[in-house]
């Protein structure tokens, strides 16, 4: 009898841990970190950790927006192509051989352009009621075409130092992209927990019909969330693309899949209504670490080709875990 009780408690505790996706991911991330640093202590070098963080920052910035989209019960798979367009237009704006605008104006115009593209998505989805998967699938292709048109088959290699500073500069010892990422996380936390808009997003996601009957402005909230995602995509582009001196037309390819994976692995329910920012942040760290981990585990160069498969397995695992938690809860 007592053993059964103990077993029940253990099961409950495990279930609680499963539900706390952030805690589980935290443990998993540190387990992976510990294992790899045992195999190869060079992994824990400050430079390497900073590189991982810098790699994760743009993914994290976009994930903060996409999480809200998924909480609403919608999806956005156009962020990668949006990044491509924004990178190309930013490059064309600042490049001396093209438009040669000052970096300040380019930054502002890029942010506006990103918001506008997100708003276009949002308008089609919220006001014309077109399913988000169709709109963003179309955008995924169309915007990649726009990128190619802007680039015109060449690379932009003359980014001025003013714009390069956004990618390579640092403030108080940390790269700028990390500051921006931290700012976005704080802002998103505030948005989710302290504003009516955050409450409304979760309300609409968990019970659209009830939210409608309660008089919530569903269309406006959806529109705003998609525009916000566009803005964050522009922000991520601004801090990540100038890290390299070259802008090509392949920037952002596959980004949408990475971001959706991070958000889903981070415990955001794909049917809407639930999601935790902390889980998403750890998922981003874990996902962006995969290829670096594979390199540092000294499995040979062949191992890096498996990183996409591992990414896919993580998302499958997250779906299975979601199912387990749900079926336990209902029984």
């Amino acid at each position: 009898m007592k053993d059964g009780f103990q077993g029940l408690r253990l099961g409950k505790w495990m279930l609680g841990l499963l539900k706390q996706r952030a805690a589980g991911l935290f443990c998993f991330t540190f387990l992976a970190l510990g294992l790899v640093s045992l195999i190869n202590p060079a992994f824990l070098a400050w430079g390497n950790l900073r590189d991982i963080a810098v790699q994760a920052a743009p993914v994290c910035i976009i994930s903060c927006g996409l999480m809200l989209v998924l909480v609403l019960g919608e999806i956005d798979i156009s962020v990668g192509s949006m990044m491509g367009v924004l990178a190309a237009s930013m490059g064309a704006m600042v490049s001396a051989t093209r438009w040669g605008l000052s970096p300040w104006i380019a930054v502002i115009l890029t942010l506006i352009l990103g918001t506008l593209m997100g708003a276009l998505n949002g308008w089609l989805i919220a006001y014309l009621r077109v399913p988000s998967i169709m709109v963003t699938l179309g955008m995924l292709t169309a915007l990649r075409g726009v990128t190619e048109v802007i680039m015109g088959g060449t690379w932009i290699t003359d980014l001025p130092p003013g714009i390069r500073y956004l990618g390579t500069g640092s403030w108080m010892g940390l790269p700028i992209c990390l500051w921006v990422c931290a700012g976005v996380i704080v802002l998103s936390t505030w948005l989710i927990h302290r504003t009516p808009l955050g409450r409304r997003i979760f309300a609409i996601g968990s019970q659209p019909r009830a939210a409608h009957l309660a008089g919530l402005p569903i269309q406006r909230v959806k529109f705003l969330v998609f525009a916000w995602t566009g803005f964050l995509t522009a922000l991520a582009t601004l801090v990540s693309v100038p890290q390299l001196s070259v802008v090509d037309s392949g920037i952002g390819v596959g980004m949408e899949l990475l971001v959706v994976t991070c958000v889903v692995v981070g415990g955001t329910s794909v049917s809407g209504g639930t999601g935790h920012l902390s889980g998403v942040v750890f998922a981003v760290l874990l996902m962006t670490m995969i290829s670096t981990l594979l390199i540092f585990m000294k499995l040979g160069e062949n191992a890096t080709y498996w990183s996409r498969a591992i990414q896919g397995l993580f998302i499958l695992g997250a779906i299975l875990l979601d199912h387990l938690v749900r079926s336990k809860k209902s029984s």
Binding site: M134, G138, W306
Partner: protein
């Protein structure tokens, strides 16, 4: 009289026929050589794989689902056949293995959808990454080639002026048309799209039908992969990238409602013709592939917006 005229026009198929005719007329005015039989026959080799995969996709979208993983299934199947061929297995066996892999991939999707009740969009997005990742890992992203002549012949042979792949498509189309119009399965598929719960309560084995449809989708992807390999004489992990977009665009342009329950195979064929001619003409006339992406993406969005607006008008 006026309302009758409007209701005829609001059928997606009739609208699409008009659109196709207008476009072909415009193309004829711009560049008559494009519409010559020889040119069209040459260009038609590009569409058969998409067309073949569009058939199961139509049935899946009719049930209210979607399959985004077909492109990745294609690459996994191609790599399976290619790797087996490199290790000395005869190619017919390799193709059989590829077909089995395709079936297994489709079954995997279907199992998650019917047993775990995962939304098709999410699970096929996940397998889209997983399948291509496995193909990349297994092949180390290297191209595989050196297939025998008898195999590449498959990609070039034609009978009565139509390539073999075209005959295969026509056969599958006839089969699908029979299922949709001459068999109760077609009714069931429509019913699932209209109201899945009600269909389930009517004693129809919804899960079994859905599982079968996703398996069929995987199988069609493997056949498309084999056709692609025969045509290009190469297998690489990046084949079939973005092919799902063309397939879904054709189906949605053909008037199949993305919420399920409404649509016809005839419309899908028109949709295929329309996107094929658009794509080929853009590359032919302006010879710029990036415009193609732009055209295809905009076509998808416009057709869904149009469908949505029309649907509202009809219901109000």
């Amino acid at each position: 009289m006026k309302t009758k005229w409007f209701s005829w026009l609001s059928h997606p198929e009739s609208l699409l026929s008009c659109l196709t005719l207008v476009m072909l007329g415009w193309i004829y005015k711009e560049d008559p050589t494009f519409l010559q039989w020889e040119v069209q026959k040459e260009l038609s080799t590009h569409i058969w794989e998409t067309a073949l995969m569009a058939l199961p996709m139509t049935l899946i979208i009719l049930t209210g689902g979607i399959d985004l993983s077909i492109g990745s299934t294609m690459s996994l199947c191609a790599i399976t056949a290619g790797m087996l061929h490199q290790h000395g297995v005869p190619l017919p066996m390799g193709c059989l293995a590829a077909a089995l892999v395709g079936l297994a991939g489709g079954w995997f999707n279907g199992w998650f959808i019917t047993r775990l009740k995962v939304h098709p969009l999410i699970i096929t997005l996940a397998t889209m990454a997983a399948f291509r990742g496995i193909a990349e890992g297994v092949s180390q992203a290297r191209p595989l080639s050196g297939f025998p002549k008898s195999f590449t012949w498959l990609g070039q042979a034609s009978w009565l002026g139509i390539p073999l792949a075209g005959w295969l498509f026509l056969g599958c189309l006839a089969l699908c048309a029979w299922i949709m119009h001459g068999h109760r399965l077609g009714r069931y598929i429509h019913a699932i799209g209209y109201n899945e719960v009600a269909t389930r309560y009517s004693g129809i084995r919804v899960n079994r039908i859905l599982l079968g449809l996703y398996c069929l989708s995987g199988l069609s992807a493997s056949i498309a992969a084999i056709l692609f390999m025969a045509r290009r004489n190469t297998a690489k992990a990046d084949i079939g990238a973005g092919v799902e977009l063309g397939v879904i665009t054709a189906v949605v342009m053909g008037g199949v409602s993305i919420f399920g329950g409404r649509g016809s195979l005839f419309g899908v064929c028109l949709g295929l013709v329309l996107i094929h001619e658009t794509r080929e003409f853009v590359s032919w006339h302006w010879s710029r592939d990036e415009l193609n992406l732009l055209a295809l993406g905009s076509l998808l969005i416009l057709s869904v917006v149009f469908q949505q607006l029309l649907g509202h008008k009809r219901s109000s």
